[in-house]
């Protein structure tokens, strides 16, 4: 038992110091997650102390040599007192922890202000993000990569398109479910720029394990630039190979599911690809984005992420090369 505790302390310390930018409640990078870690530590401390007290009592009871002198009645009364005190202390600790829990319960409502209203929608098995502009023409949609400005409260509206999902980026905040028919909200606040991984936390079917997202927290200036670049429609180069790729995209079923703003591709059931090449990951965190992985994905999405809602679209290797080259230009 002790060993387990020691091992766990070591592991805990390792995790606390070791990893950066990972997906961990022990590695907070914003005020909400920091508060949560403090509560976790308070609870762990109190509970571990109580545990070792109780274990001390257990060991003592087992090793004690009973003295036969005390009369039974007196002994029973003595124990009753001790047990009563123990029960009362339990109650006191419970009240204490309840109060600790209440006082820190209001964290999502830090400040009302929110610089961006971003609509997050969970879909089987990827994330859709709608950025509202001040006027509708400035709005745009992206997928699986959520950019936020550093040092600000960013309020997210959470909705589910199909089944229940749960939005969880542990280094920034606790989780919140996306429930069909309901509107939930969560506030993110990143202290420093960086990339924070998150993952769907409510079982949502076949590929629940592959429903990750990344939050990219940027300095305000960089964030503004990112917004501007995302707002722009796609520019298709004149290069013959690229145009050929674009034609493949439009001719094949691709355009029925994906939107590329500035082209006739207006499908909405799949992720918006207007700036797909600017994203770090593909398929909700399954692949690092590169020309090779993009081609691999298009060639056989069902092997890479079995059961996902993108069908295998048959094409020749020439067509595959062309369409990949085209998508690669969508920065």
């Amino acid at each position: 038992m002790k060993q387990a505790a020691i091992v766990s302390c070591v592991l805990l310390a390792g995790l606390l110091s070791g990893c950066t930018g990972a997906q961990s409640a022990l590695d907070p990078r914003g005020p909400a997650a920091t508060d949560l870690l403090h509560i976790i530590l308070v609870f762990v401390f109190v509970c571990t102390s109580v545990f070792f007290l109780v274990m001390g009592a257990l060991v003592w009871s087992l090793l004690r040599k009973p003295s036969r002198e005390d009369s039974e009645g007196a002994q029973e009364r003595q124990i009753s007192v001790v047990v009563t005190v123990a029960i009362l202390s339990t109650a006191a600790i419970i009240v204490l922890l309840t109060v600790v829990s209440f006082t820190s319960d209001r964290f999502p409502e830090y400040k009302e202000a929110s610089s961006a209203a971003i609509l997050v929608r969970g879909e089987q098995w990827w994330w859709r993000f709608d950025y509202d502009g001040d006027d509708s023409s400035l709005g745009f949609q992206t997928a699986n990569e959520l950019h936020i400005p550093v040092g600000q409260d960013v309020r997210l509206r959470l909705q589910a398109t199909d089944v229940i999902h749960s939005f969880w980026v542990p280094s920034l905040a606790g989780k919140q479910d996306l429930v069909p028919g309901r509107d939930n909200t969560i506030t993110l606040h990143a202290e420093r720029s960086g990339i924070y991984r998150g993952q769907c936390a409510e079982f949502c079917g076949l590929q629940h394990a592959h429903m990750a997202l990344e939050v990219v927290a940027q300095e305000p200036e960089a964030y503004r630039q990112w917004l501007d670049s995302q707002r722009r429609s796609a520019v298709v180069s004149e290069d013959a190979a690229i145009v050929a790729g674009r034609d493949v995209f439009m001719r094949k079923p691709c355009a029925a599911c994906h939107t590329i703003r500035g082209t006739e591709a207006k499908g909405t059931s799949g992720p918006d690809l207007t700036h797909v090449a600017s994203r770090r990951m593909l398929a909700a965190g399954v692949l690092q984005n590169s020309a090779g992985s993009l081609a691999a994905w298009i060639a056989d999405p069902q092997t890479i992420k079995p059961g996902n809602n993108m069908p295998l679209v048959p094409m020749t290797s020439e067509e595959l090369r062309q369409v990949t080259a085209f998508l690669e230009t969508l920065r």
Binding site: M1, A4, S8, L12, L15, A22, Q23, S24, A25, L26, A33, L36, F43, V44, C47, F51, M55, A57, L58, S61, R64, P66, Q75, V82, V83, A86, A91, L97, T98, V100, S101, D105, Q124, L158, D162, I164, S166, W168, A173, G174, K175, Q176, D177, V179, P180, G181, R182, R197, Q199, A201, E202, F203, G205, L206, Q207, H208, A209, A212, G285, P306
Partner: protein, 636 residues
């Protein structure tokens, strides 16, 4: 009075040597297959129940190992996503509905009648029916596993994932009907136990002399009776949504997705106590002989059982803290969830006080009691943690929670259960299990358990969600997952050895006398294994520990007939004898009724009309079952 009563034979009228053979003739079940299918002896049925539940434990354990093989390495391809989802759903559903709840009820079915000193459980035919229904439910689930069509929506089957739109095929229907089967059998047993405890206690066993285990089964039975309607409604409305096109859970038609979660957890949380409370009762029973004193704080323990039972209905929302409910409501449920630590703590302190003031003997059951104390306290601590809303927003649906509930379910219920098997095995079979192997079994299970599940706390905090069939290699989870997977095999080895010990002891264990551990409660007052009539003469109880306090021989009550099955009905509070009542004879109709019910329930997965045509054979079977026999009135 009709003619047969003139020929009645009372036990006072027969010679001492004559008594037992005549009782045996009256109470014994038939021979051969027919006897096996018609028996209503609570001991035979309970033994079947227990063995079947342990088979499901073993099968569920195999599934757990398969999951752990898949999770040992990142992005492993040992299982497909689909297989994994079926397996974790089946593991959870199987462990909860086919192992943990039934095995606890089965222990009650075996022990409660013996502990209260009666000859059979109340409604013995219903008892037979409940076993057959349970078996059918289990087969339905496991046949689906074999056909690669097992449910894949998690053991709490959240809508809309399990609804008509996203839950394709028959998988979610199989889950829902499996629930119906097990509900039915659990409800039946609960009713039997309540009536047995209230009306069939041996003369003199007033409420304050009921063994704690019997109290725990009584409270558990009430929990079953109160909690089951919620899940019945849930699973039936799910089936209706899927089959008939109702919209209970369809937000587009103003149904409500969260209604499912409320209903499920209104049942699901008490469910945990339905598993845990009998375990507390077992610990109370075992700790006394191995501390050589009565358990400390009888009244406090009973009160704690009742308080836990009541509180368990006020906690369900703590499973929904991140679903987006109003914060004021969540605060209430934080407070109530934490408050349950008080009765739980009371139980632990009473056990510690028993050990402190007793003289402990370290036999295998006692080792499991100690293992329970250590593990359950840890599970309770993490329970307090997840009860806190802010804390839960980080750990909910992560491996932290997987660790937490295995600490309370395995540490809090399975450890006492395995101890209880070592403890009552001699009573049930007449032979002892091996003390030497028992120690190794305990060592392997205890060490294997903590090595498997402790690291999961850390994995959860480090961000690993539960119910994922794999995880990416970039995240720092691989090492610990491999460690956990290897440890799971140590744990499994412990259970394997336990099964070997049990099977071996059945044939070659040391022969046990009636009371090998020198215990105080009534089940030890009769032979091991007990004869079909349990007690040749009904004991009269004069204290809480009848076998310790009785000066020389247990006083007995007489005046029951030996030529037909009769038992004593007594008053609820003081257990004053009130009447002699006949106890039903063997019958094939419970099995027939169970088969008819099974056909109806399986049919209703495919067509709603099955409820209509399926009702006909059930009605026929029930009519035959309850056909009035020409038995004389029961006598006061």
């Amino acid at each position: 009075m009709n003619s047969s009563s003139t020929a009645q034979v009372l036990d006072v009228e027969v010679e001492r040597e004559e008594l037992e053979p005549r009782l045996r003739r009256t109470w014994q079940s038939g021979k051969g297959i027919w006897g096996a299918l018609t028996t209503v002896d609570h001991k035979i049925i309970a033994r079947r129940y227990i063995v079947t539940a342990f088979v499901f434990l073993a099968l569920g354990g195999v599934l757990a190992l398969i999951m752990r093989v898949q999770l040992a390495f990142p992005e492993a391809r040992f299982l497909s996503a689909d297989r994994y989802n079926q397996i974790f759903t089946t593991h959870g559903s199987n462990m909860m509905f086919l192992f943990a709840v039934p095995v606890m009820e089965a222990m009650g079915v075996y022990l409660v009648p013996l502990m209260v000193g009666t000859r059979n459980i109340a409604f013995p035919r219903l008892n037979a029916f409940s076993y057959w229904i349970f078996l059918a439910g289990g087969l339905v689930l496991w046949i689906a596993v074999a056909l690669d069509a097992a449910p894949d929506v998690g053991w709490f089957a959240y809508v809309p994932l399990s609804g008509p739109e996203y839950g394709a095929g028959k998988r979610a229907d199989i889950w829902a009907q499996m629930i119906t089967f097990t509900e039915l059998s659990a409800l039946a047993v609960a009713v039997e136990i309540v009536v047995t405890v209230f009306k069939q206690r041996a003369p003199g066993m007033s409420l304050d002399r009921i063994p704690v285990f019997v109290w725990s089964m009584l409270v558990t039975s009430f929990l079953v009776i109160i909690a089951m309607p919620a899940i019945m409604f849930a699973s039936s409305s799910l089936i209706l949504d899927r089959l008939v096109g109702t919209h209970f859970y369809n937000p587009a038609e103003r149904g409500d997705v969260l209604l499912w979660q409320h209903l499920f957890w209104f049942f699901g949380h008490p469910e945990v106590y339905i598993i845990f409370l009998p375990a507390v009762g077992m610990v109370s029973a075992m700790i006394s002989p191995f501390s050589q004193r009565p358990v400390f704080g009888y009244l406090a323990l009973v009160m704690a059982l009742i308080a836990t039972g009541l509180l368990s209905f006020g906690l369900w929302v703590h499973h929904m803290f991140v679903a987006g409910l109003p914060p004021s409501g969540s605060s209430f449920f934080t407070a109530s969830s934490m408050a349950i630590a008080i009765p739980a703590g009371t139980q632990i302190f009473c056990f510690l006080a028993t050990l402190w003031s007793g003289r402990p003997i370290f036999k295998t059951p006692m080792l499991f009691v100690i293992g329970f104390l250590i593990t359950f306290v840890m599970g309770g601590m993490t329970g307090v943690m997840v009860a806190s809303v802010p804390l839960d927003t980080q750990v909910h649906d992560t491996y932290f929670v997987v660790a937490h509930f295995h600490y309370v379910l395995v540490g809090g219920a399975v450890f006492p259960l395995v101890g209880a098997i070592y403890y009552w095995f001699p009573k049930m079979t007449g032979r002892m299990m091996s003390e030497k192997l028992g120690r190794i079994v305990f060592g392997l299970i205890f060490a294997g358990f903590h090595l498997t599940f402790f690291p999961m706390h850390i994995l959860g905090l480090a961000g690993m969600p539960r119910r994922v069939y794999t995880y990416p290699p970039e995240l720092p989870w691989s090492g610990m997952n491999l460690f956990v997977s290897v440890s799971a095999f140590v744990l499994a080895a412990g259970f394997g050895l336990f099964f070997i010990d049990a099977i071996r002891s059945l044939r070659s264990g040391k022969v046990a006398g009636p009371n090998p551990w020198n215990c105080a409660s009534l089940e030890w007052a009769t032979a091991s294994p007990p004869p079909p009539y349990n007690f040749a003469r009904i004991p009269v109880v004069q204290s809480r520990d009848p076998l310790w306090r009785a000066s020389s021989e247990l006083p007995v009550a007489t005046g029951l007939r030996v030529d037909r099955r009769e038992l004593v009905v007594s008053s609820v509070v003081a257990a004053e004898p009130e009447a002699r009542e006949s106890s039903p004879a063997d019958s094939i109709w419970p099995l027939v009724a169970a088969l008819a019910t099974t056909v109806m329930l399986i049919g209703s997965m495919f067509s709603a009309w099955a409820v209509v045509w399926g009702a006909v054979p059930i009605a026929i079977a029930l009519t035959c079952w309850f056909w009035p026999k020409r038995t004389p009135e029961d006598e006061s």
